[in-house]
């Protein structure tokens, strides 16, 4: 098993690296093929003087041909240099760094909760079988799936923050009070609740549907008949055998969702004024801060690839059939 595993792993890593390279290359060229001269946009002036433009161009290497810029960018990446933000006049990593934790605190928490709750509800629904509860859960999953995340966030703010005043309306901390230590953590959790709840509701339906379908399919499989005939109790049969088989698709989804966290949370970060990477990304787009944009994209690509590889490993541990691939 070990040799196969190592081979499997190395193939996946290679694919991932190739993918990252491909993604960055595409992004690089899209961004740089955009209309509008970045130097002009950066000055923020209507009619900047040619000297200013020249100075900016030289400072950020914008006067060299595109291919040269590309090569320079790639070599920088290999050295660990993420680039330099034109707009903020700081190295990219300095801007991105503090944003990672806020984004992850929303996405990781929400994904784990959505996974747990979604699969639990799916198990519940499969035991209900055609009663009212099954239909109800199904409808809810359709509705949640159709909701724009930003709208849901706003509605939750409206109800729970503005009207009921149970939670703050935005931000990660209460800026006016300066809490320390434990109180700060509580404050942070207090602010974290609604954004996580929003993302949880958005992600819930997929986990529910996928797991439910998987359970239904597994219950039809021969091994259920055989193991039940042999005398294994329904309880054990379900909890040990059906569950392990049924949960595999949900694990895949979990990995994908986590990988795509940054984009998934972006809209929610905007609605809740949460200082995360998604918001930074959007700001960068609007300000045409190309370097920053590329840096964030690079991180996203790495993040997605890592998430996918880890998911693949977990699936290979759960499902021995996969190891043959």
């Amino acid at each position: 098993m070990d040799v196969l595993f190592v081979k499997y792993l190395s193939r996946r890593i290679l694919s991932a690296v190739l993918l990252i390279v491909l993604v960055i290359t595409i992004n690089f060229f899209i961004i740089h093929l955009a209309p509008g001269d970045p130097a002009t946009i950066m000055t923020g002036l209507e009619n900047p003087s040619p000297q200013i433009i020249e100075a900016l161009k030289r400072k950020y290497g914008l006067d060299k041909p595109l291919v040269v810029q590309y090569l320079k960018y790639m070599t920088n990446l290999l050295r660990g240099d993420l680039g330099f933000s034109y707009v903020y006049d700081q190295p990219s990593w300095k801007l991105i760094g503090p944003r990672v934790f806020p984004t992850l605190s929303i996405t990781v928490t929400a994904s784990i909760l959505a996974f747990a709750l979604g699969t639990y509800l799916a198990v519940l629904a499969s035991r209900l079988r055609r009663k009212f509860g099954d239909l109800f859960l199904s409808l809810i999953s359709y509705i949640l799936y159709a909701m724009p995340s930003f709208w849901l966030g706003l509605i939750l703010i409206l109800v729970f923050a503005s009207k009921l005043k149970w939670f703050p309306t935005s931000g990660m901390f209460d800026m006016r009070a300066s809490y320390e230590g434990f109180r700060k953590v509580l404050d942070y959790l207090h602010h974290l609740f609604l954004p996580v709840f929003t993302l949880l509701l958005i992600q819930l339906p997929v986990f529910y549907r996928v797991t439910r379908a998987s359970i239904v399919q597994n219950l039809r499989e021969d091994y259920v008949t055989v193991l039940s005939a042999v005398g294994i109790s329904n309880d054990r049969l379900f909890k040990k055998y059906v569950m392990k088989n049924s949960i595999i698709p949900a694990v895949t989804i979990f990995g994908i969702t986590l990988g795509f966290s940054i984009t998934g949370a972006a809209l929610i970060e905007i609605v809740f004024a949460w200082p995360g990477m998604g918001r930074l990304l959007l700001d960068a787009v609007f300000r045409r801060d190309y370097q920053l944009l590329l840096s964030i994209y690079f991180l996203m690509a790495v993040f997605i690839s890592v998430a996918m590889i880890v998911t693949d490993i977990v699936i290979a541990i759960l499902d021995p059939r996969v190891r043959l691939l």
Binding site: L19, V23, Y142, A146, M147, W151, L293, Y297
Partner: protein, 281 residues
Amino acid sequence: MRFRTDFAKRYLSSRYGLAGLIMFLAMLIMALFAPVIAPYKPTDISHDMLSPPSKVHPFGTDHLGRDVFSRVVYGARVSLTVGFVAAGLSALIGIVIGALSGYIGGVFDEVISKIIDSFLMFPVFFLILIIVAVFGRNLVYIMLVIGLTTWPSNARIMRAQTMSIKEKAFVKIARANGESPMRIIFTHIIPNGMYPVVANSAMQIGGAILTEAALSFLGLGDPSVVSWGKMINDARSYMSFAWWSIVFPGIFTVITVVTFSFIGDGLQQALYPKLSEVRNE
């Protein structure tokens, strides 16, 4: 021919499919007959700003005194158009590329497959975002971009279909008869294999609508049309004292996307009727 009536019958027997169809027809009527249904023009400003739902304004008015109900009704036009055009384009490209890739095989297929996999692994929304932000905020662009970035899932389905259909007898006969590959692809493979793509497209319509809503919310939408996403964005500052301006556009967005999810489900059931519980002999 018999296949089509069977298909229609199976679709209509699915609860969700039927519900979806009815809801869709209602939406369609709303969009087509907007000028008749809406009591006001969507851009009509009035002095009656931020007033709650009433007999005169069933959904209230927004911060510019515009009737929310009328704007919601007109918004259906934008949503349905974006949904169909974007998903349609995506389906078209996906079907052609998928069929070609599956049929031709070889290096061509491998390259296309890699491209498809890359797209599917990538958060497409941000790609769309960048392109729209950078190249222009008009509806045609938006629909085009969504279509051009979402075809891979359709291509993947069509490719799988192609690979199984091309092994069937009637295709082999056509090949033996000397029919050109193009003819085979377009007259035999695509008409027989495209149905799962159609089911997928129903879901993509919903996705396109949500994407447009998100873009509009971010201020990247087409400023010259009435979009539900934009309505939500506009209403943001006033929502705590004018809940109607934000709730109704959102509800209608949800209803519309749910409609297409239902339709997609109905199509799935029509294509792959559920196996009965009985074990086979």
